[in-house]
């Protein structure tokens, strides 16, 4: 049902990765993105694969759920693979017909590229989307970019906007459903009729949706005022991000692993 829609793909849990400070996860995620892009040798990429599997173990999320979460991008991986196979024309030729030429080099490089992308997606999923709530993510971005406040970047406001947007996604999804049903009752067409009828059908949804979103925004602003909201200054938080020993430990372990991968790739 519409009500159960969850934002992002967060998997409830209490594993080491779940408990890890989200700022650490964001920084590590960034680090791994760079490292995985730099890695060029099959051996080091396979080692990186091992590290990602290690992360998966740390997350204690069932392998099936993890695979489910990357399933939508499998098509993209396949596309990248095929494209690379077809465009890389160096190396010994395996098959050749019409304008298609498949080379051993091509298959290897395409495979590496696909693996790289796969690791990238899997790694960020494990570190961020699967184990971190969107709200914590917004919080930690506010904290990480906190220093920018000094040069008047509205970091708090942006984080607040992000978390309010997250809060209202399910509400608006539900509302869209409701409006579509109401308009369909009046004969609007979304799935039948020609393309113009359908376009017109969507107008009947979008206008009320925008009107109501603005009304909600207005009312929410009043409600926030009434609850003494006055920007980020002097504001405290219920959940304060706190680096614990375990956070330092995993931060060091995982960054050393990342650097190790780089070294192996360079010198082996």
């Amino acid at each position: 049902m519409m009500k159960d829609i969850s934002i992002g793909r967060y998997c409830q849990g209490n594993s080491i990765l779940h408990r890890l400070d989200p700022r650490v996860k964001i920084v590590l995620c960034f680090l791994y993105m760079i490292v995985i892009f730099i890695l060029s040798k099959p051996a080091s990429l396979l080692l990186a694969f091992a590290v990602v599997i290690f992360l998966a173990v740390l997350s204690s999320i069932s392998p099936r759920k993890i695979l489910d979460s990357v399933r939508p991008v499998l098509f993209l991986l396949l596309f990248v693979f095929v494209l690379n196979v077809l465009t890389i024309r160096t190396g010994n030729t395996l098959v050749e017909f019409w304008i298609v030429k498949i080379t051993g080099d091509g298959i290897l490089k395409a495979g590496l590229m696909a693996l790289r992308l796969f690791l990238l997606i899997l790694g960020t999923s494990l570190l961020l989307t699967l184990t971190t709530t969107p709200l914590l993510m917004a919080d930690s971005l506010e904290s990480l970019f906190g220093p920018l406040k000094k040069i008047r970047v509205p970091v708090h406001e942006m984080a607040m906007m992000m978390s309010i947007a997250l809060r209202f996604v399910p509400t608006l999804v539900e509302e869209t459903d409701k409006i579509m049903k109401a308009q369909a009752s009046r004969g609007a067409e979304y799935d039948t009729g020609n393309i113009f009828a359908r376009a017109k059908g969507y107008v009947t949804v979008l206008v009320p949706l925008f009107v109501s979103a603005f009304k909600r925004a207005e009312e929410l602003a009043v409600a926030m005022d009434a609850r003494c909201y006055r920007g980020g200054e002097g504001r405290t938080k219920l959940h304060v991000l706190h680096m614990k020993k375990a956070d330092y430990f995993w931060f060091i372990v995982l960054s050393v692993a990342a650097l190790g991968l780089l070294l192996i790739d360079l010198f082996v």
Binding site: K3, C228, L238
Partner: protein, 654 residues
């Protein structure tokens, strides 16, 4: 409803004790409005005066209900107290601080907590506990203390177990409790409720009111409660009625509701029991002790006392010259309490058979083998608690949802075979025959002008332009809308007008069957009555009307037959008489009797002759007098003979 009655009794006792202490120290006023005026600019040109020269004060720990038509300035008053608006003239003092003094701005806001009408639009946090923490966070409360305040507040309102849920997973009632928790965490002195209960179902409403009652007792909070519900207003120790920005009536509930005519003239209603007692007094031609019209128990005692009084003159129902406006509005409908019965021979227009629906595989069914049929020209009510499957059921009726198992058939007037909701080819015709109006339909308006918006449906249904215009005209005439409204933008209309325009949009499609989901939700008493009158008018035009309702009194008054849904299971359709007079059946179905039936049942204890199947105050009053007379004394004298004869004949017609 029973729960409400319980609180009424409780607060009655409290009021008596409190008014004494209140008089003792008048100095402790939490809010003082002194000659306050406020106006705002509407649509850039029109200056609307929301409040003019209003003076009012709220004592510490007092509970004030603020009543008035939509647009009478109630919300403005609450906003002035919470410094969300500043008065243009006069002054507002909140706990000794003037709202015009900028240096105490935040102090005032901290001391006031406000719960708004729409639960969704006041929740900021992405989880329940985050939302409760929002206020204290803004106040700069240290983290450890926020934690304990959040935990305390959640425990107080009973949401501890849901603290990590997303707000969208809560019910409406839980969301409003969450709003209260968010306020409690800021420990304010004054609680402002701006129609906070108007979007809740009866059970959540009683829950919410119990919570407010607890706050007044435990925390001695000062409460200003804006509401359209008269029985809610009776819980307060003072009622203030606003009309066009001025205080029209003010005083304890007993005093305000004693002025029945004045209250009605202001577009409000009196509670059902008060209406009944007042009507009995009118019929008997005696003056009631008007101060008792704010609790069922007292009103019933009043009726007992009036019956025992020696008669002055009896006014039979026929000679109602000085009848109150509201009754005139209702008089168009049949007086017979079981008018549904003669419909048994009518044609079936809609048939639901063995309909089931599951939202999750293996989960609890939303609809469980529901079967019933609706006859042509009847008003068919569907009642049940939130989550009983009402909305799921009605979205099947015009094919918005297709049956997973079971069938829905629609029978057109021309006698062609039944249309099946399962068949794609039939759905288009079904959408034309079955008009569906969802709850709060004003959100579906989208066109530039009202005319275009109302015409959208009929155009889609393939009517010619001239026909469309005709349909638009007849729809707005039916709903009492003015021609001049047609060229305005639907978005600049008032809430009540928007509702009627949306209603017109469905009526203009000229459907045989109209399905209305809580059509009167959130409207003031006048608006409510008008909307429900349209249902009777449609019925008079030969349309079939299916109404989903929470309000038992209204269902009893307007419906020919009623279907009760409980956990997705449907009862047999019954007449209001069959359903509401059978206490065991009500208990089984988990619904409460209409207030008026509860009143009659109470009186029946002493006057066993009373029949319960009367749902309008006028009919019920006649029945009480008739039963009392036949039971207690044989008819003597002209007045009584006439009365008895009149009433018996009325009864025989049944």
């Amino acid at each position: 409803m029973l729960a409400v009655a319980f609180f009424i009794r409780e607060t009655t006792l409290m009021t008596e004790g409190k008014s004494l202490t209140e008089n003792a120290d008048k100095t402790e006023m939490d809010v003082i409005l002194d000659d306050v005026s406020f106006s705002y600019v509407h649509m850039e040109t029109e200056v609307v005066s929301a409040l003019s020269d209003v003076s009012l004060s709220l004592g510490r720990g007092s509970y004030t209900a603020l009543l008035g038509r939509n647009g009478s300035g109630k919300s403005t008053m609450a906003k002035l107290i919470d410094v969300l608006e500043l008065p243009q003239e006069g002054s507002v003092l909140v706990i000794g601080n003037n709202t015009n003094d900028e240096s105490v701005f935040w102090e005032i806001r901290t001391s006031c907590g406000m719960v708004f009408q729409n639960p969704d639009n006041q929740i900021v946090g992405t989880t329940v506990e985050e939302d409760v923490a929002f206020g204290p966070e803004n106040l700069g409360v240290p983290t450890a203390e926020i934690r304990s305040r959040v935990d305390d507040a959640l425990r107080y309102v009973g949401l501890t177990e849901l603290s990590l849920r997303q707000p969208s997973q809560l019910s409406g009632g839980q969301k409003q409790k969450l709003a209260i928790a968010g306020i409690l965490a800021m420990s304010p002195q004054i609680l402002l409720l701006d129609e906070s209960t108007s979007m809740l179902d009866p059970i959540s409403r009683d829950d919410f009111l119990a919570l407010v009652d607890k706050l007044i007792r435990d925390k001695h909070m000062t409460v200003l409660h804006i509401t359209h519900d008269m029985s809610e207003a009776c819980l307060a120790d003072r009622i203030v009625v606003l009309d066009h920005g001025k205080v029209a009536l003010s005083g304890p509930p007993g005093e305000v509701f004693s002025q029945v005519e004045a209250v009605r003239a202001l577009g409000l209603d009196v509670p059902v029991f008060a209406d009944l007692a007042f009507t009995v007094s009118e019929r008997l031609g005696v003056e009631p002790d008007r101060k008792i019209l704010y609790s069922r128990e007292l009103a019933l005692n009043g009726i007992r006392e009036m019956l025992r009084r020696p008669p002055v003159t009896y006014m039979p129902a026929a000679s109602e010259s000085g009848k109150v406006e509201s009754d005139v509005a209702e008089s168009g409908t049949s007086k017979s309490p079981v008018s549904g019965k003669d419909k048994s021979g009518a044609r079936t227009v809609l048939q639901v058979s063995h309909l089931s629906h599951f939202y999750e595989k293996g989960g609890a069914p939303a609809l469980d083998d529901v079967s019933f049929s609706v006859k042509e020209g009847e008003i068919f009510a569907i009642i049940g608690h939130s989550g009983s499957g009402k909305t799921t059921l009605i979205t099947h009726l015009n094919g918005l949802m297709r049956p997973e198992s079971g069938d829905v058939f629609v029978y057109p007037k021309d006698g062609t075979g039944p249309l099946n909701v399962r068949k794609n080819a039939d759905v288009r015709s079904i959408r034309r025959l079955v008009g569906l109006l969802f709850q709060y339909p004003e959100y579906q308006l989208f066109e530039e002008t009202v005319r275009k918006d109302i015409a959208f449906g009929p155009k889609k249904m393939g009517y010619k332009d001239s026909q469309v215009e005709e349909k638009v005209q007849s729809a707005i005439r039916l709903l009492g809308l003015d021609d001049s409204i047609l060229d305005r933008s639907p978005f600049e209309l008032s809430g009540g007008q928007k509702r009627r325009v949306a209603f017109a949009g469905v009526i203009a499609m000229d459907p045989d069957i109209l399905v209305l989901d809580e059509p009167a939700a959130g409207l003031d008493p006048t608006g409510r009555r008008e909307i429900l009158e349209y249902a009777t008018r449609l019925k008079a035009m030969g349309k079939t009307v299916i109404i989903v309702s929470h309000n038992m009194d209204e269902a009893a008054r307007y419906a020919d037959r009623i279907l009760v849904l409980k956990h997705g299971k449907a009862s047999e359709p019954m007449t209001p008489g069959e359903l509401f007079t059978d206490e065991g059946r009500l208990m089984d179905l988990g619904i409460t009797a209409p207030e008026i039936v509860t009143c009659l049942r109470e009186l029946k204890k002493e006057i066993p002759d009373i029949r319960l199947e009367y749902f309008r105050a006028t009919d019920a009053a006649d029945e009480i007098i008739r039963a009392f007379n036949t039971h207690n004394r044989p008819p003597v004298g002209d007045g009584y003979t006439a009365a008895a004869a009149d009433n018996t004949s009325g009864g025989d017609a049944v």
